[in-house]
């Protein structure tokens, strides 16, 4: 009986205390007809040794290739300390910190996290995290509409990740919110400031960098949105914020809400999760914010302590009138991320951003020197870029894959107007030799 401590003697004593003849009898309120038979699709138990061998074999199948895919999830070095501390039992197996006095570790950590995220995004306050970047964007859209109390339309540039847009659609469509797509400039790859009347809208989403890795003109877009009565939702890569202007400083008065995926800050790629969504905002919007929030307060003796606060917004208190149905945050990944940011510090994170940027620039230059490869956009970039090939992308990626290289993310399905477009990314984890290897292999693949 894995994970069950009971001895036969325990069971006998406990049943005697209950006054039940058998464990089966404890289920006597369940209608007989409903009791199920054996499970047929669940195999026999494996010991830890057996499952261990199986999982090692399976993990070994998922070999590490040289990865140049970004597109929303980024391969960065994660200091060994991060997950060694994060998986300590006291963090790993702790409950949600509702009992504040017995959860000061988690609570103080989240308060520190909130401070870091608010500062990184240049905003006033932060929540304790949401599920991931896509759902955080959806929550931001709902929040902006709630706060606007009028417009049900949100402007959504096509330079926002297609998958994020899909998540937002799925989450807001039943609430009659309309997502209005904004086109991008085919030359520069940036979202142009609308020159026609867009009507009432609750918010404009501004991705920075955008899905093409191109840097939007955030100041102009922010000021335009504010001038036209909409709020600004910044969608950003947190690593980039060590280098790029913080959303709170965009335009004249800054963005109103900032969201994004926290994955680059200490979460491994891990097949796509668990990551976490961050959300920060201006002070004025704090009571509209979904998700848990930690506040600092004092105890009976006046000593500093931390506790969940503003719970009146949340579903377990407010039920059908809550700001969101959200319940869990991504506490453990936030723990990792807070330790990651503490180890990197402002200079470390800036160097990671700069090295990723420089590597991508170098790779881009090498690739564009190959016949049949051209750069798609003229706009400034961060650590991703789109290249166009002289032939379909899929077979080229297959050739690279056979050489152990994941050559990037194929854009042709989501952006057919770009032709044979490939989104590439090279973070600080790539060496000069790695970049060269990619360029050589691509050159070979295209010379055939």
């Amino acid at each position: 009986m894995p994970f069950i401590p009971h001895t036969d003697e325990d069971v006998t004593q406990m049943l005697a205390a209950i006054g039940a003849p058998s464990i089966d009898a404890l289920f006597d309120e369940i209608p007989t007809a409903l009791r199920s038979g054996k499970l047929t699709q669940v195999p026999e138990a494996m010991t830890e040794m057996e499952i261990s061998r199986l999982m090692h074999e399976r993990a070994d199948m998922d070999g590490r290739q040289l990865n140049f895919i970004g597109a929303g999830a980024y391969e960065h070095h994660i200091p060994a300390a991060v997950w060694q501390i994060t998986t300590r039992g006291e963090f790993y197996s702790a409950y949600t910190p509702y009992q504040a006095e017995a959860s000061q570790g988690t609570l103080q950590l989240i308060y520190e996290y909130q401070t870091m995220m608010a500062s990184l995004t240049g905003m006033d306050v932060s929540n304790a995290s949401l599920y991931d970047g896509g759902s955080a964007l959806a929550e931001a859209v709902l929040m902006a509409v709630r706060a606007h109390k009028g417009a049900m339309r949100v402007l959504m540039p096509k330079t926002v990740s297609p998958l994020y847009r899909a998540v937002v659609r799925a989450m807001v469509k039943n609430q009659h919110i309309e997502l209005v797509e904004l086109d991008y400039d085919p030359a520069s790859g940036i979202t142009l400031v609308p020159t026609t009347d867009m009507g009432d809208f609750a918010a404009l989403v501004i991705p920075q960098p955008n899905f093409f890795g191109v840097l939007e003109d955030v100041d102009a877009l922010t000021d335009w949105a504010h001038a036209n009565g909409g709020r600004v939702i910044a969608l950003t890569n947190p690593t980039s914020l060590a280098l790029l202007k913080a959303p709170g400083q965009w335009g004249t008065t800054g963005a109103d809400i900032a969201v994004g995926d926290g994955q680059p800050l200490g979460a491994p790629l891990s097949n796509g999760g668990p990551y976490y969504g961050f959300m920060t905002c201006k002070q004025a919007l704090v009571r509209q914010m979904p998700g848990r929030i930690v506040g600092r307060t004092v105890d009976l003796e006046g000593k500093q302590g931390f506790t969940l606060t503003l719970q009146a917004r949340e579903q377990h208190i407010r039920r059908s009138k809550a700001t969101s149905n959200i319940c869990t945050n991504q506490g453990l990944v936030v723990t990792a991320s807070t330790i990651y940011m503490s180890l990197l510090g402002p200079e470390g994170l800036k160097r990671v951003a700069a090295a990723s940027h420089a590597n991508t620039r170098s790779l881009l230059a090498q690739l564009c020197a190959i016949a049949g490869v051209t750069q798609a956009f003229t706009g400034y970039g961060f650590h991703e870029a789109v290249v166009q090939l002289d032939r379909p992308v899929t077979p080229v990626l297959a050739v690279l894959q056979a050489q152990g290289i994941l050559g990037g993310h194929d854009l042709s399905a989501d952006y057919p107007e770009l032709g044979n477009a490939l989104l590439i990314c090279a973070t600080e984890t790539k060496t000069a030799a790695d970049l060269q290897r990619y360029a050589q292999q691509l050159s070979l693949a295209l010379s055939k």
Binding site: S126, Q175, L241, S270
Partner: protein, 484 residues
């Protein structure tokens, strides 16, 4: 001490950053940051020391017993953690070709199959990243189903008043109005009220069974018939699945859709508040609407089904495949349990709950539903104690911390006054339960002898009782540099 107080300008953990600052001069000034973000500037050791010490200020399963109703705080096997974090799994990019992730995808496929079996449903999607997202996906599928049939008048979801707050909140997010129905004295749904509530406006009913009151809904077959006859669908809130794992299948009870909290029944870690995972299972008629991605097996290869593969899908809950690493942990746990082990989970969770109920009753505590069997949890009410001594359920809960036990769930479900919802789970031993009973008795005696002692608790934690009112009134959500 906050991490920022360990910070000094230009201090850094040098092994953790690229050795040189790369050139970024190609970027124009108007796009660049000019201030230094408030991240700590500390040495590696200071960071390690700070967070190691901070961790010690937490209660956790690895250090304490959590008799926390509705939360199923059971042992999280350490193997699930280390195996889910093998380098091959961690390194794979979610957009890497399926061919490079067969180990992961095969595991997920098998997890789907196992979850179908234990829930008795026709299909499972692992996409939702937590229970609330699973609920959202479930209700959105109910809506998509009715909409697809042109049955668009159904705009109301029925929820028992004992339900989790996520139920009504979710219904609203899906554009529904919520109708609450009462609970009878035995803790079951008030059938007459249900009959009166259903109609052509009824989209569905959301139900937890065993309920949040810790009892199995005896009239479930009647309820199912009433809702289905009215054209509504039945949503199963999987919060209490641990109580019936391998014994009753929600599909057999007639539910059309279910979400499961893998961080409860399948023992993935709570992690101080997440990440969870909230897969949904569906009956045949809802298969076309499942959230993507779903793992499929074709010619012995595994891949993700996406939008094009399931055209009527309600869409996606995340850009990727949900909380993949959490799903892996659940898979590993499920394989270690095996079929027999799953049966035993509900058996021993129920045994522990009923034993603890009986021992606490013996010890003088008032059981909220004394005529019923406990499922894997049960409720005691301290109303009498509160009236006689002024000691509230909250005071009682805080005092338990001093005895080294996490508090039970307090003030939920809301319809039982001064309640403690207690769930021991199957992984705790009889000795641990006996120790808990002794602490409960001791505090009960304290409450009568020295009520102020209990009201002032806790005394042994890093802080005394915290001022929540001040926290909400004088919002202090971020630390400021000026505090140094």
């Amino acid at each position: 001490m906050l991490i920022f107080e360990h910070s000094r300008p230009n201090r850094a953990a040098h092994a953790q950053m690229p050795a040189h600052a790369a050139d970024t001069s190609d970027l124009p000034a108007y796009l660049l940051r000019t201030d230094v973000p408030l991240l700590p500037q500390a040495s590696e050791m200071d960071v390690v020391r700070h967070y190691t010490r901070l961790s010690q200020k937490n209660f956790s399963i690895d250090t304490q017993f959590y008799p926390l109703g509705s939360c199923t705080m059971k042992y999280n096997p350490r193997a699930c953690n280390s195996l889910a974090m093998l380098p091959g799994f961690l390194a794979r990019h979610p957009f890497a070709p399926a061919a490079t992730g067969q180990g992961y995808l095969e595991s997920m496929y098998e997890l789907q199959e196992m979850l179908k079996d234990v829930t008795g449903m026709a299909g499972v999607s692992l996409a939702p990243m937590a229970g609330a997202q699973g609920e959202f996906a479930g209700v959105a599928m109910i809506r998509a189903y009715h909409d697809s049939r042109g049955d668009t008048a159904r705009r109301e979801i029925i929820v028992p008043n004992a339900a989790h707050g996520t139920n009504p909140a979710t219904a609203v997010m899906c554009g529904y109005t919520v109708r609450e129905i009462p609970t009878d004295k035995e803790g079951d749904v008030d059938l007459e009220a249900l009959k009166a509530a259903v109609g052509p406006h009824t989209a569905g009913l959301m139900l937890t069974n065993p309920s949040t009151l810790g009892v199995f809904e005896k009239q479930i077959q009647d309820i199912q018939k009433i809702v289905h006859d009215a054209g509504g669908l039945l949503y199963y809130d999987g919060a209490n699945l641990n109580a019936i794992l391998g014994r009753v299948k929600p599909g057999d009870m007639g539910f059309d859709v279910i979400h499961m909290n893998l961080h409860k029944t399948f023992s993935t870690p709570h992690g101080g508040g997440g990440p969870g995972a909230g897969p949904v299972g569906v009956a045949t008629r809802l298969l076309p609407f499942m959230p993507v991605p779903v793992v499929t097996k074709e010619n012995d290869q595994y891949r993700l089904l996406v939008e094009g593969d399931i055209p009527a899908t309600i869409g996606r809950m995340s850009a990727n495949h949900g909380n993949a690493g959490v799903l892996l942990r659940a898979y590993i746990y499920a394989r270690m349990l095996g079929a027999e082990g799953m049966h035993r989970v509900s058996e021993f969770a129920t045994l522990n709950a009923n034993y603890l109920l009986k021992e606490l009753q013996q010890a003088g505590f008032d059981i909220a539903f004394p005529t019923r069997r406990a499922s894997h949890e049960f409720i005691i009410t301290l109303k009498k104690l509160k009236d006689e001594t002024g000691v509230s359920a909250m005071d009682f809960a805080k005092r338990l911390l001093d005895y080294g036990y996490h508090a039970p769930t307090t003030y939920f479900p809301m319809l039982v006054p001064e309640c403690l919802l207690i769930e021991p789970t199957e992984t705790e031993s009889k000795e641990t339960l006996d120790g808990f009973v002794v602490a409960m008795k001791t505090i009960l005696a304290e409450a009568y002898a020295t009520p102020d002692l209990v009201k002032g608790a806790p005394y042994t934690q890093p802080v005394r009782r915290l001022d929540d009112v001040k926290a909400a009134r004088e919002l202090d959500l971020v630390w400021r540099q000026s505090e140094v």
